[in-house]
């Protein structure tokens, strides 16, 4: 019986791995060059479909699955990496994918201080090895009325907070993003008051749905998604889920959050997803699901982004029109 011999591949036909790994970048660069003459598209890159830095990142080992995950199909990795609000790297959705390569997510230290018995700091390696990493597939609803389904990797924020032994004075938790205009070019302009700040009530922070994310799609976080460590609070608008965290502080009083400070009538402290309370400039009743395409209709937004069973009790007796 004749054995089929595979055709010999001359070495010249094989792409060096380094070039192959950068294929998207190279293609993009070539096309961008070809397109410079015709690139008059609102200052956006003509070719927005394949985000930069979409190559494989370091995988996170031993990721456990979680009963908290939704069974909805996750948004494509390209869309999650290519459509971001991360003003530290520019205000257009495509800017973070193009500009976040200057961020250095290792080494990285998070300072934990304020009203706690054991203030200190924790390095990102310790975060990755010291807490059981779970996959949490969550819905993400942006205040701009679009949404995604993101397969985060992370662990409950409460697990980390408890290590630093918050005192009874700790009624809130405040978060801060890195401030470094060299790494984050968007911070060279005062579009927002840098560094970006966010905050949660302590019971929101300790809620089992609230996680610190270290990755997505099984790999460490891409820079444009808030590497190396970000907050994810799935029942609140996306801007609450602060990225690239360098400081966590326990406080007695309600901390400042950046968008609320910027436009208090448009962005509240709580920012719970609520189809009944419109943003002054647009309706929050429905949202566009990223990936649904040009001709799909919007989907109905659910109270607390569909997590009402788990979190509605946190707000019992509160007027959510007032505390929006």
């Amino acid at each position: 019986m004749p054995i089929l011999k595979p055709p010999a591949i001359p070495p010249s036909e094989i792409t060096p791995p380094a070039v192959w790994a950068r294929r998207r970048e190279l293609l993009k660069a070539a096309l961008a060059l070809a397109g410079t003459g015709a690139g008059l598209t609102l200052g956006r890159p003509l070719l927005a479909a394949s985000p930069a830095g979409a190559g494989a990142l370091e995988p996170i080992p031993n990721v456990r699955s979680s009963p908290q995950s939704t069974d909805e199909p996750p948004t494509s990795r390209d869309d999650i990496l290519g459509y971001n609000n991360f003003y530290e790297f520019g205000t257009e959705k495509e800017d973070p994918a193009a500009n976040a390569h200057t961020l250095r997510p290792r080494p990285w230290t998070v300072v934990v201080d304020g009203a706690c018995e054991a203030p200190g700091q924790i390095g990102i390696e310790e975060v990755l090895t010291g807490f059981t990493q779970e996959e949490r597939i969550y819905r993400l609803r942006c205040v701009e009325a679009w949404a995604m389904v993101v397969p985060w990797v992370g662990f409950p924020l409460g697990d980390l907070l408890k290590r630093f032994k918050p005192t009874s004075q700790a009624r809130y938790v405040a978060f801060e993003t890195l401030l470094d205009p060299k790494q984050m070019q968007g911070q060279r302009r005062a579009v927002l008051e840098w560094p970006y700040r966010e905050g949660l009530r302590i019971d929101e922070a300790m809620h089992p749905l609230t996680i610190l994310a270290t990755g997505l799609y099984g790999q460490v976080l891409p820079n444009q998604n808030g590497a190396p460590l970000r907050l994810v609070v799935p029942w609140k608008y996306g801007f609450k889920s602060i990225k690239s965290i360098v400081r966590i502080s326990f406080t007695a009083t309600q901390p400042v959050n950046t968008w609320n400070q910027m436009q208090p009538d448009e962005y509240g402290f709580y920012a719970n997803v609520n189809p009944g309370v419109d943003h002054p400039r647009w309706s929050q009743a429905r949202h566009r699901m990223i990936g649904d395409g040009l001709f799909a209709s919007k989907r109905k937004t659910l109270m607390f982004n569909g997590y009402a069973d788990q979190v509605a009790s946190l707000y019992a007796g509160m007027d959510l029109r007032q505390s929006f």
């Binding site: 015709a38 609102l42 390209d78 869309d79 003003y87 959705k93 309706s283 429905r286 040009l294 919007k298």
Partner: protein
């Protein structure tokens, strides 16, 4: 229409210029069609098409407004003969923009659209600009120019208000970064300032 300058050169500029400008004005549409068919609209295609058509409507409106100052600056009267085509293309992209908003973005949910039109200032001014453009497009023909006489010019002066509303529409929808709408505002300010009859030295009031 009165012609200035040596006839031959001027008519050649208009004869070859008109089809060229026509094709140039269709290039954004061609780019958009290519992006749609090639799947190059990014993660949020409805938003991309909405912003693209709106931006080109506003840009061409500003280009239309640049014709008169440019003619005065260069003394080339034939430039005026491109103005109608440019204005109609601006209207064309604005109509596309409104259609995308009504059909693709709002899915013809009239209740939502009525709320938008009555509650949201940036949509109110944008829609007002569109409505005010309709009579200008309708009366852009030679016949209407003749029929309306002096009133035609009066009517078409509303384009200044329309351009202001268009820029406001852009300015009011932006969340924090006002840089881009402010560029449009600055261009419009220059184009409007060029029309003010500034008193000149050496000439009595």
């Amino acid at each position: 229409m009165a012609r200035s300058g040596p006839g031959g050169r001027e008519s050649a500029a208009v004869r070859y210029g008109k089809p060229l400008v026509f094709v140039l004005c269709l290039l954004p549409l061609a780019l958009l069609a290519w992006r749609i068919t090639a799947g190059r609209l990014g993660a949020n295609p409805v938003e991309a098409v909405l912003h693209f058509t709106g931006a080109w409507g506003l840009r061409l409106l500003l280009v239309t407004l640049a014709v008169t100052p440019l003619r005065r600056l260069t003394g080339r009267g034939w430039l005026l003969r491109f103005r109608r085509m440019l204005g109609l293309f601006a209207f064309f992209y604005v109509v596309l923009h409104v259609a995308v908003y009504l059909v693709l973005d709002r899915g013809l949910a009239w209740e939502e659209i009525v709320t938008d039109l009555s509650k949201r200032p940036y949509i109110m001014v944008g829609f007002a600009a569109f409505v005010l453009l309709v009579p200008l497009a309708v009366t852009s023909t030679r016949g209407w120019v003749r029929r309306l006489g002096r009133r035609w010019q009066l009517l078409h002066r509303s384009v200044y208000l329309i351009a202001v509303l268009g820029v406001l529409h852009f300015l009011w929808l932006v969340k924090a970064d006002l840089r881009e709408p402010l560029i449009y505002a600055a261009v419009l300010a220059v184009l409007l300032a060029a029309r003010v009859p500034w008193p000149r030295l050496g000439r009595a009031g």
